[in-house]
């Protein structure tokens, strides 16, 4: 945080600045602005006014906002601009004004987006950048600090590394002796380096070497260098090899050393740098000792009361996400217990809560042991509580955590989640103002409604079905897809009465339009829903014949036009399930798949039997198994028709299929066809 009452002193911790300023009597804001705007007040008064303003706004968002509304930012930027171009006053006096106004601008930008916006709008960025080449070191310092605070905001413009002399300018920052200037250089990289092309260009320009050297510098240089190294190395194995390769991995060892630094922020940043390396190049940092160390350091950093404690769970999450070995390791190190202890303590900042739920979600993403442990530690209670938190990020993270725990089939079977205490707040979140919360809630609901305990009515009674149907018509394709996914899981293994209730709410016409949705994933889920609808008792098959065969016609049209294997597979299982019904059902499928007399265009099923996707070949073979079942009365005539269109040779092609499932179904189908003779007259 900037800054103390002294003109050019180092950045002070907020608390000391607050204490010193609270002892002084504070000028009225309007008076301050008046003094700053006046062109007649002597420079000493102006410097004092700037200093007063700075002291009032440090660490105080409310003050920042009220001064912002009074137009303080453009006023201060204008003072800075005049001071940098003026020749009227002495250089010393002008420099004092520049230093103070730069510090005020930095204060407005510090952790306050509205401030950053105002600072950028007033054109401060270019003026501050010019300060870096000033002869007066204190001016350079003030400019660099202010710029660094601006570049910490997402609102700051990206620095274009490829433009004109920008790379040279960046290198000159990194080469500077002033630690605030090198820190600024590193912050610019952290903020702006996003593409692999930028990462490569920075590596080629020698930036990585500079940053490695800065790792041995002051605290500011070390921290900002670690942060920008993480940005340059992120998901780029080619650049990482340039970092870890030279001098027998000296740079990597330096970063490993820094994970044991005495400053918590340095430890955190060093861990984050190593995580970036490991995530892109899993062959590095495979040693159990280093993996364990990373987990333990991040756990310990959770106790940090400040920003480090808030960021530590995010780093932990990124370390273990998608990596079962690390999840197992974290479980063995009691990470779940420790995270729950933090939740138990309560009064956590929203960001910290979000991070903890995301880390717990990652831990529970694959391992049943983790889910069981979290549930035994009141995990559901914490999640329930967080689902009504003020912060949308916390609500979404809680839902993501619930989604991952509810991957436990054992708990789904025990009805652990299908309780009003869980379902009521969860269903409420389907109407959340934040789309990401809605999507996260849909994710959890999709899993929970699989429920095998015939308690699906609990969900319907909570109003969940109505909401899902509503969201399945959303303009947002992600919401639509997740809603249909949940409906598909909801209709899995339900009784006929429940199916009727779902169908009544959802309607045939909505299902039809979902099957024809522009998004292939929505089509796939909608077809899977119909597949589940026609499973179970034979009576359910009637639904696809209702309204003049509308659903069945739509399914066959989609099968004929879609290209994505997953869509085709679900479509073929709809036909398989319908073909497992009575004669009327089998004949309908037969007519849809083989509508033309022999000699006409080849049936689509032949294409599927030759598909590269074994799952599609299997589904097609199952349809044929059901159509040729010898015990059904119309089998003979269907087999005769199938023979005429060349089914025997098609099946013979796959009776030695490399996929066992395809091979067995093809043999069954062929055997059934042969039951009626070999086709000779």
């Amino acid at each position: 945080m900037p800054t103390s009452a002294s003109a050019s002193g180092p950045i002070q911790p907020q608390s000391s600045a607050e204490t010193s300023s609270s002892l002084q009597s504070r000028p009225i804001p309007e008076d301050l602005i008046g003094r700053l705007s006046s062109s007649t007040v002597p420079y000493e008064i102006k410097v004092k006014a700037l200093r007063d303003l700075k002291n009032q706004i440090i660490g105080n968002r409310t003050k920042k906002l009220s001064f912002l509304k009074l137009g303080a930012v453009p006023c201060v930027v204008s003072i800075l601009s005049s001071a940098t171009t003026s020749t009227a006053a002495s250089r010393g006096n002008l420099d004092s004004i520049i230093i103070q106004s730069a510090a005020v601008i930095g204060s407005f930008a510090c952790g306050f987006d509205a401030g950053v916006e105002a600072v950028l709008q007033a054109g401060a960025l270019q003026i501050l950048l010019r300060l870096i080449s000033y002869p007066n070191e204190k001016v350079v310092d003030a400019g660099a600090r202010s710029l660094k605070l601006i570049y910490q905001s997402k609102l700051a413009p990206k620095f274009d590394f490829f433009k004109d002399q920008n790379m040279e300018f960046l290198l000159s920052l990194l080469n500077c002796d002033n630690e605030n200037v090198t820190g600024l250089g590193a912050s610019v990289i952290t903020h702006s380096c996003q593409t692999s092309m930028e990462q490569r260009a920075l590596g080629d320009a020698g930036v990585i070497t500079k940053l490695i050297n800065l790792l041995g510098g002051s605290l500011i240089q070390r921290d900002s260098s670690l942060e920008s190294l993480a940005a340059i190395l992120k998901e780029n194995s080619e650049v990482i090899l340039k970092f870890v390769g030279p001098e027998n991995g000296r740079a990597l060892n330096v970063v490993i050393e820094l994970t044991m630094d005495k400053y918590p922020r340095t430890r955190l940043l060093a861990c984050m740098c190593l995580i970036v390396i490991r995530n892109a190049l899993p062959s590095y940092l495979q040693d159990l000792q280093i993996k364990t160390k990373l987990v333990l350091i991040l756990l310990e950093l959770l106790d940090d009361p400040g920003q480090v404690g808030e960021e530590a769970p995010f780093a932990l999450s990124s370390l273990i996400a998608g990596k079962e070995d690390l999840q197992k390791l974290a479980f063995q190190e009691n990470v779940i217990d420790k995270l729950c202890n933090h939740l138990e303590k309560g009064s956590l900042q929203a960001k910290c809560l979000q991070g903890i739920f995301l880390a717990l979600a990652d831990l529970c993403s694959r391992l049943e042991s983790c889910r069981t442990r979290l549930l035994s530690l009141k995990g559901l209670h914490f999640i329930n509580h967080a689902m009504t938190h003020d912060s949308a990020e916390v609500r979404a993270a809680a839902c993501i955590c619930l989604r991952n725990i509810s991957r436990s089939v054992e708990n789904l079977s025990a009805g652990t989640f299908m309780k009003e205490s869980v379902m009521n707040p969860l269903v409420q979140l389907l109407c959340d103002t934040s789309t990401s919360v809605q999507v996260a809630a849909l994710g959890a609901i999709s899993n929970i409604v699989v429920d095998f305990m015939v308690q699906k009515t609990t969900f319907i009674q909570c109003g969940g079905l109505k909401q899902l149907v509503e969201l399945s018509k959303s303009m947002d394709s992600t919401l639509r897809m997740n809603a249909v996914w949940a409906l598909r899981n909801l209709i899995f293994l339900v009784n006929d009465r429940c199916k009727e209730a779902i169908l009544l709410e959802l309607t045939q016409s909505t299902i039809t339009s979902l099957i024809c949705d522009p998004e292939a994933f929505v089509q796939e889920q909608a077809l899977a829903l119909v597949r589940n609808l026609v499973d179970g008792s034979t009576d359910c098959i009637k639904h696809v014949f209702a309204e003049d065969f509308s659903l069945l016609d739509t399914v066959i049209r989609q099968i004929q036009s879609a290209s994505k294997a997953e869509v085709l597979i679900q479509g073929m299982y709809v036909l398989t399930n319908v073909a497992s019904g009575n004669e009327l059902h089998k004949e309908a499928v037969m007519n849809l798949l083989f509508p033309t007399p022999p000699g006409g265009p080849q049936s689509i099923i032949f294409k599927f039997l030759q598909s590269n996707d074994s799952r599609l070949r299997t589904s097609a073979a199952w349809t044929l198994v059901n159509l040729t079942l010898p015990s059904s009365s119309g089998a003979f005539s269907r087999v005769s028709k199938l023979r005429k269109v060349g089914i025997v040779s098609q099946l013979k092609n796959i009776i030695n299929d490399p996929c066992l499932d395809v091979k067995l179904r093809a043999r069954t189908a062929l055997g059934q066809v042969m039951t009626f003779g070999d086709g000779s007259p």
């Binding site: 989604r403 509810s406 991957r407 089939v409 054992e410 789904l412 079977s413 025990a414 994710g443 999709s446 899993n447 699989v450 095998f452 305990m453 997740n482 996914w485 598909r488 899981n489 899995f492 293994l493 899977a528 597949r531 589940n532 026609v534 499973d535 179970g536 008792s537 034979t538 299982y573 398989t576 399930n577 073909a579 497992s580 019904g581 009575n582 089998k586 074994s614 799952r615 299997t618 199952w622 198994v625 059901n626 079942l629 010898p630 015990s631 059904s632 009776i655 996929c659 066992l660 499932d661 067995l664 179904r665 043999r667 069954t668 062929l670 055997g671 059934q672 042969m674 039951t675």
Partner: protein, 214 residues
């Protein structure tokens, strides 16, 4: 009538070059939602007895060699209602699990004794005796061997007078979905046989439902 799959074409694939690293390929008849029905013979010296049994597959994670579902025993003498249990299965894929149980009170001798009761195990036996089958590649074998362990009672309390202390050695036929099993519990009658067939709830053919977890 299904075509008879000749077993003689299998051995070269069974003893493949890449054992222990591959999970078993999916088999549609052993997928979620599939239901099976049959009996468990619980005869003792005193009397002949068999319970009707229904099984449904609820979860399947081939990467982890995991399968689970429910088992419903219908005419259990001391229970007023059918007794439903939730079970979890270990699939012998030689990657996650071998033929040796190494727990639940079963020695490797017990394992061999039980597996040997399945005719389809005979061609694997000699290798299993050496290393539990670790070096076998079962990915193209038309039978899937599993152990099913009941975890809890779904609809009755633990005071129902029944036990789920033991576990089942199970052999599943990928061709027709038939299941054979033997219950193992040192404190119960030995070799209680479980026999199940794939059922289709009055349909004239096979039907498949599905869900997908996020």
């Amino acid at each position: 009538m299904p075509v008879r799959v000749t077993e003689s074409s299998m051995p070269s694939q069974v003893f493949g070059e890449n054992p222990g690293n591959t999970t078993l390929p999916p088999c549609t008849l052993l997928s979620v939602g599939q239901a099976f029905s049959g009996t468990q013979n619980v005869s003792s010296l005193q009397k002949d007895e068999a319970w009707r049994v229904n099984v449904r597959i609820l979860g399947c994670d081939l990467d982890h060699g995991y399968l689970c579902g429910t088992m419903e025993a219908l005419n259990v003498p001391m229970a007023d209602t059918p007794v439903v249990t939730f079970w979890e299965g270990e699939i012998v894929d030689t990657k996650n699990y071998t033929f040796f149980t190494n727990k639940w009170g079963a020695t490797s001798d017990d394992d061999i004794k039980h597996w040997t009761k399945f005719p389809s195990f005979s061609r694997l036996r000699s290798q299993v005796e050496i290393d539990g089958g670790k070096s076998l590649d079962l990915s193209n074998y038309p039978y899937i061997f599993m152990r099913w362990k009941e975890q809890y009672f779904v609809n009755v309390g633990t005071d129902c007078g029944l036990t789920i202390a033991g576990f089942y050695y199970v052999c599943f036929s990928c061709s027709d979905g038939s299941i054979s099993g033997f219950y193992y519990d040192p404190n119960s009658s030995p070799f209680q046989k479980l026999e199940l067939k794939s059922i289709n709830e009055g349909r004239s053919g096979f039907s498949f439902s599905s869900y997908e977890l996020q």
